[in-house]
Symmetry: C2
DNA sequence: TCAAAAGTGTTTGTGATACACCCATGG
DNA sequence: CCATGGGTGTATCACAAACACTTTTGA
């Protein structure tokens, strides 16, 4: 039976671990850190921290992301809580994981200079400490699910992007190949992109038109019952 | 920066709250309890408890469900963690929610005798304490998602059930009406049900054939790449 | 002039949806 | 004999998938 007071209940450490995704050169990437403290010093780990008494989990995740990237307003979602009794060999710790989406190209320039932090292609990611590999796996599962029913993929791209970039981003996350014409037709049918009078000349001689995601239009469509579905 | 030792970090109370779903007389139901301790004594609440030092979250949820229903092996899934600083007015508490699926008819007979515990039709559920209403909402969203891509609905039904019961269960969870023939055709195409030589005579003069879900066949199909999708 | 990426519509197939009548039986 | 729920098949539609050629231009 639950006691009439809470004070006899056990308290635990609550950690937040972030699975930070990026997209660059047609590859889905993940940001990990070499731990500079025990236990497991020198091994690769997700970026994390502990929940403070006066903040909620979202705030903690935002704080950790800000500390690492310098960015505010990063798109993130809670994924799952991990609680195996001996998951952290040092002390009983429960961890709540978040995934985050970052536009590598435009923001995190200084980031890579810091020594112990590194972007890996998801495919080449080294083994991580504790249950962090499982956290990554679960986060990818959620991310795959999410990008098919919510237009969050744009968080990984610069504000202006080409259709090819958009498609390659979906392909990288879903780990599949998509038909160029079907993909464009589908996206055009949503009527959520604004074609700009600008071209990206970096990847071809002809140049590729740049597009912007129209957030306002999306919100308006949502209210009218629109349902994003790739 | 994360410190070189954990011992200066804040510890918190970690609760587990269960959204217990049942299905009876064509209605989706939820089990709640009248709190017999402060704060919020006398108000309706989800069934919960605190995580102990030596158990993981799944074990805690199982323990809470066992205490309440006497049942082991209840189907459940973690939903989300709730961490607003003042969500519990008495003391900082983070809560991890689980949904659980119970076959009301065959099991929880003694349950209803206990005074402060009650099944409500989801539609008629009273307002709950703290952020428990939000927890219920999130759990339903997950449940709706889950029954469309995994055959978990059977957990709400007796071992033997009629096609009508199965359909009404889906209708109750999805809060929609389904076409009888399309529903049966779809389910038959999966080839996951075993038709028994028994009829349920309780709801009509003609009687309706009973079916069983074939778990082994489902597992075999899964390995062959089958994907359940309603 | 050629290599490399950009851009563009139509056909086909599959799965979702809509739909109506006969059957069996207890009262 | 009739009221009630049980059981069954087909036609249509909409969306997903497959598919190939022309354009542009820098090297």
């Amino acid at each position: 039976m639950v006691l009439n007071t809470y004070c006899k209940e056990d308290k635990v450490l609550l950690a937040v671990d972030c699975i930070i995704f990026g997209f660059y050169q047609e590859e889905l990437k993940i940001l990990v850190v070499k731990r500079d403290f025990e236990p497991a010093m020198g091994e690769w780990s997700l970026i994390g921290g502990f929940l403070k008494q006066k903040e909620n989990l979202n705030d903690a995740a935002s704080r950790i992301l800000k500390r690492l990237t310098g960015l505010n307003n990063i798109y993130m979602e809670q994924v799952h809580s991990y609680s195996k009794v001996d998951r952290d060999p040092k002390e009983r710790t429960i961890s709540v994981s978040y995934f985050a989406l970052i536009d590598i190209a435009h923001h995190c320039k200084d980031l890579l200079k810091e020594n112990p932090i590194k972007w890996f292609n998801l495919k080449d990611m080294p083994s991580l400490i504790f249950d962090h590999n499982k956290m990554v796996k679960d986060a990818i599962t959620l991310l795959r699910n999410r990008i098919t029913n919510k237009p969050v993929g744009f968080e990984l791209l610069p504000e202006k992007f080409t259709m090819r970039q958009l498609q390659k981003m979906y392909e990288a996350i879903l780990d599949t190949e998509l038909d160029k014409r079907n993909f464009i037709n589908k996206f055009n049918s949503f009527d959520l992109l604004r074609k700009l009078n600008e071209k990206d000349m970096s990847s071809s001689k002809k140049g590729a038109f740049l597009f912007k995601f129209d957030e306002d239009k999306y919100q308006k469509k949502l209210e009218e019952g629109f349902c994003f579905k790739i």
